[in-house]
């Protein structure tokens, strides 16, 4: 099958939106075990700095394979990381879904994410452009790649005790 711009496939759009909204809900609820289950074994979760595409050879905010994802989640869950005990509370919105590529059982979706964190009585706002590469899995999908490009990723940030 050839790659198509498939934004007009409303059924598919609905399906991937529901999947990504569910992922967002899991992250806000800090249901990280369920989040880990969404991934393929070789999936990579990346927050790049700047506009690089060569993640392997660049310094990223994170560039996690399955082991690093598990370690990261473990860090959040065990209660020894002071930045995550307690963690900031988050509420996020993911929207502006555009399916940019469909090939075989792979779908690439681009979206916008706004996240508000609350800790120490102060709130901070973050925004990012998100790319999901999803692979069909039965009735649903698995995440094979997720790239979140934060606004100002190459500027001054603060530390994060949650995932995007």
């Amino acid at each position: 099958m050839t790659a198509t711009k498939a934004t007009n496939d409303l059924a598919l759009l609905q399906k991937v939106s529901a999947f990504i909204w569910n992922e967002a809900a899991l992250l806000d609820a800090k249901d990280y075990d369920a989040w880990l289950d969404l991934w393929t074994d070789d999936g990579m979760y990346t927050l790049p700095i700047g506009d690089t595409e060569d993640f392997d050879n660049a310094v990223n905010l994170c560039h996690d394979n399955a082991k690093m994802r598990r370690d990261r989640v473990g860090r959040f869950q065990r209660g020894f990381a002071i930045s995550s005990a307690p963690p900031a509370e988050t509420v996020r919105t993911v929207s502006r879904f555009v399916i940019t590529r469909v090939e075989g059982d792979e779908v690439t979706v681009e979206s916008a994410e706004h996240l508000i964190e609350d800790k120490f009585g102060r709130q901070r706002v973050w925004a990012g452009n998100v790319t999901h590469r999803l692979v069909a899995d039965g009735d649903s999908f698995r995440i094979d790649a997720k790239i979140v490009r934060l606004l100002n990723s190459d500027g001054m940030l603060n530390s994060f005790s949650y995932l995007f």
């Binding site: 392997d56 660049a58 310094v59 905010l61 370690d71 990381a81 930045s83 940030l157 530390s159």
Partner: protein, 420 residues
């Protein structure tokens, strides 16, 4: 007469720090003038401005500066402020250019800051001197690729300010180029609501490591965890190196990366070693590179704004009395094997930066110091740990690995600079 004449009340002879040291905006202003305006301040690594015409933006204290390499390859540091009506002449973080042109009325400056041309100069009359209206330039010197600048024309040369012991540690630190020149690979930047001295204190604070970084330790393999257990092993030390500088030797076996090259390759680097052998690197070079990838065994803290920490540079920029910008700069091997640089980058991402397994926990405790400062203004902050069994070193005292000797070194210099 300086406003803060009773410096003993701010930092007492028995190593207690007044709460106002983190909080008083007037004191902060005074520090910017007396310290950041008068001493050598780190602004860049030479690899960040590699070519003729390369530039990057930086700060000396609160002042925005441009670090640029001119056509002859000479580095210049100048204030990013047009001499006409003060607009910044550059807002691009880094890049390459042949000149800087002010966006407001078009004054144009060369890579060395000299005023080259201005539109319609006639209205300034015949005696207007372009020579006197270049960008304000700072004295600039580097050592081992580390570029420092100062507003103080009368200060001693950089290497005298650092001193031979600091220079020796810098030489040792740069051995993690593994035989290649050291090069900046990228950086993490984050801001923390804290006074700059809270971070200055941290780089030679081994005492916090097992507490704050427990969750990082839990993600290491046994041998690596054991290596980071430097507090229990107690073979390390902290030493005052004069002029506010200090070293914290955590892993003495890794003081000199060229020594003990015949040691077995740690398990976590076996894969990398195999990869390098596969690329045709001879065994002795493989060992040298692999050892370099793990980083040096110490942190070197330079007063007032840069430290060399295991495998990266940590830079602080004061922003306000209760706000400090932090940069964690990843370094690697210029022209070295890509696999080795990748390994260093992954190690960097593991600990450093906004999403690292270490930095967010550091940032949290630093912020908590600042928040706690609001309570009990009469209570002093203690940096007297280990003062009881310090030994005299060559240039200053040397203490237990968990001693606050490095902080006392910094505060001694702080006091000296604030008193003149």
């Amino acid at each position: 007469m300086p406003k803060f004449s009773d410096l003993d009340a701010l930092y007492s002879p028995d190593a207690k720090v007044a709460t106002s040291m983190y909080e008083d905006p007037d004191l902060f202003k005074e520090e910017m003038e007396r310290i950041f305006h008068r001493t050598w301040v780190w602004v860049a690594h030479e690899s960040e401005v590699p070519d003729k015409g390369s530039f990057k933006l930086s700060h000396v204290g609160l002042e925005p500066v441009i670090v640029a390499r001119d056509r002859k390859g000479v580095l210049h540091v100048m204030v990013n402020r047009c001499r006409h009506r003060a607009a910044t002449v550059c807002e691009v973080k880094k890049g390459k250019t042949s000149s800087f042109q002010c966006p407001y009325h078009g004054w144009g400056y060369g890579l060395d800051g000299s005023l080259r041309a201005l539109p319609y100069p006639e209205q300034y009359g015949d005696d207007f001197s372009k020579e006197q209206h270049g960008l304000k330039r700072l004295r600039t010197e580097s050592y081992q690729g580390m570029v420092f600048a100062t507003f103080n024309e009368d200060i001693e040369p950089l290497t005298d300010f650092l001193g031979p012991k600091v220079c020796r540690y810098i030489d040792l630190f740069m051995k993690q180029g593994g035989g290649f020149p050291v090069k900046v690979l990228g950086e993490h930047q984050f801001t923390v609501p804290m006074n700059w001295k809270v971070q200055l204190e941290n780089t030679t604070d081994a005492y916090h490591f097992p507490v704050v970084h427990k969750s990082f330790m839990q993600t290491l393999d046994g041998a690596t965890e054991d290596m980071f257990d430097f507090l229990d092993k107690g073979k390390g030390w902290v030493e005052d190196l004069g002029n506010g500088h200090s070293v914290m030797m955590m892993i003495p076996e890794l003081e000199d990366l060229d020594a003990n090259l015949d040691q077995p390759i740690p398990e976590r680097f076996e894969g990398l070693a195999e990869e390098l052998r596969g690329e045709g690197y001879p065994e002795d070079q493989v060992r040298k590179i692999v050892r370099a990838v793990g980083g040096a065994g110490f942190n070197l803290n330079l007063f007032p704004n840069v430290s060399f920490s295991l495998a990266f540079f940590r830079v602080l920029t004061p922003v306000a009395v209760d706000r400090t910008d932090i940069r964690h700069i990843a370094i690697g091997m210029e022209g070295g094997p890509a696999a080795a640089n990748r390994a260093r980058i992954r190690l960097h991402e593991h600990f450093q930066g906004p999403m690292g397994f270490g930095s967010p926990d550091d940032a949290e405790v630093w912020e908590r110091v600042q928040r706690g400062t609001k309570g009990g203004e009469d209570l002093p902050i203690l940096v007297n740990r280990g003062i009881v069994d310090e030994e005299p070193g060559e240039l200053g005292p040397r203490g237990h690995i968990s001693a606050e000797t490095g902080m006392r070194a910094a505060y001694k210099m702080w006091k000296r600079m604030m008193s003149v």
